[in-house]
Subunit: 255 residues, 2 copies
């Protein structure tokens, strides 16, 4: 039984978090093996979500944060008039639910864009663990800080950028995120519909469609359905313009 549990633990930590940003972000802080083990003890598994299924809804009690393991999730804020604003897309290795810590209830809906599996990290346990493991506390703060930073860049984009700039910036962003997961930065498959993407960027779907066309005519990329291949990354980055997307240097990936 003990041996069995050991196996379960290792397999779950592997599967659940092989590229989960909680762990990813812990690594730079040299989270020890024991800490990882203890973290793994509190991580819950969940049955995969089907496309369109809610992970949580605005108003739900806040119990846990989630790390996407496979698939993709959108978070949305619904206005009084019922209009939906997509706040973000969460890809494998990314965390969601952090905005609920303050109010103790979720402030937005989280909906699977495709078949998606997540690991659930009960927040109360996580908080307790963070008290005992300073590196974990540090990691948590960094994750949240990064989220704030991302939101700010997005705000800048939406407030100041033209439709072109917004799309270019979003595409470069996705390229980067896929790249970090070890996938191709040049060719990838977007998990969301054009409608959802346009919603997220504060544009009309028609505008989005015309933009894709224009980008293709300009040989910046090739797109068919959700599959996108970036053909001129430099030009795209140039277009994205507003903010330096990749301050760390070149995207060396050529795959």
């Amino acid at each position: 039984m003990a041996a069995n549990q050991q196996v379960v633990r290792f397999s779950s930590i592997r599967q659940a978090c092989s590229d989960c940003s909680l762990i990813q972000l812990c690594l730079p802080f040299s989270l020890g093996a024991k800490a990882v083990e203890r973290l793994d003890d509190i991580v819950q598994r969940r049955r995969p979500l089907k496309r369109g299924e809610h992970l949580y809804r605005a108003g739900d009690d806040f119990k846990a944060i989630y790390a996407v393991r496979a698939g993709a999730i959108k978070t949305t804020l619904v206005s009084i008039q019922g209009e939906e604003q997509i706040l973000g897309f969460h890809l494998p290795g990314e965390i969601l639910g952090l905005d609920a810590i303050n109010s103790n209830q979720h402030s937005c809906d989280a909906i699977a864009l495709e078949v998606t599996s997540v690991c659930e990290i009960p927040f109360e346990n996580l908080e307790q663990l963070a008290v005992q493991i300073p590196e974990l506390q540090q990691a948590l703060l960094r994750i949240m800080s990064k989220e704030i930073f991302n939101d700010q860049k997005l705000l800048q984009m939406v407030a100041k950028g033209s439709a072109e700039e917004r799309l270019a910036s979003a595409l470069v962003g996705f390229s980067e995120r896929f790249g970090r997961r070890g996938l191709s930065r040049k060719s990838f498959s977007l998990p969301m519909s054009r409608i959802e993407l346009s919603n997220h960027l504060g544009l009309a779907p028609e505008t989005m469609s015309r933009l894709f066309k224009r980008f293709q005519e300009a040989s910046l990329l090739q797109a068919s359905g959700k599959d996108v291949t970036i053909k001129d990354k430099d030009a795209l980055c140039e277009l994205a313009g507003l903010c330096r997307v990749n301050p760390l240097g070149k995207m060396a990936d050529q795959s």
Copy 2:
């Protein structure tokens, strides 16, 4: 000397944080007197900033977060082309600098809008203290969570709202923030220029000016210079529309 220090400590904690959100947010978690005392030990004082002076700049090493004590500070992201986007305004009792935790350097500029005094909270010390005082860790996480939530609401506003909705929402937001500080919710003085406000909301200054005129003609408010008096709060809230601004209930304040 010991007695002296005691005095200094109490006076500084009073002055620095009588309505500083770090403390504010600690209170609901029953941060003990000892914790407050220890927190006070690490809080630094700084000479007041003059109007236009930088508290920090993008790229500066991250050493501390700041709580505004008096005055107001804007944080701005400057694009490659030199365009400025104002990310937020920070009033007394509010924290800034949290976005720098992740990268260990500030990602935006923080500039005083008027004569402003802040308290500086060295982050390394704060982090250490948070390990020892679980309630402080909890408070920190909540503050950051709230920041994320605010950014998300702002994004929704800017992405979806019309110019009218953005201004209404911003005004109701300020009203609420002034109210929390014990000031009037109906009549207050904005610390920023119209240009800065319009920039923050992703609008042209001319649009802002015309909006203020329209709002006055509709008897929603009265404004002269930076002084604003809200005359029809309900209508403004209605206009702000998109998101429920004050989920806790009515703004009972009649001052």
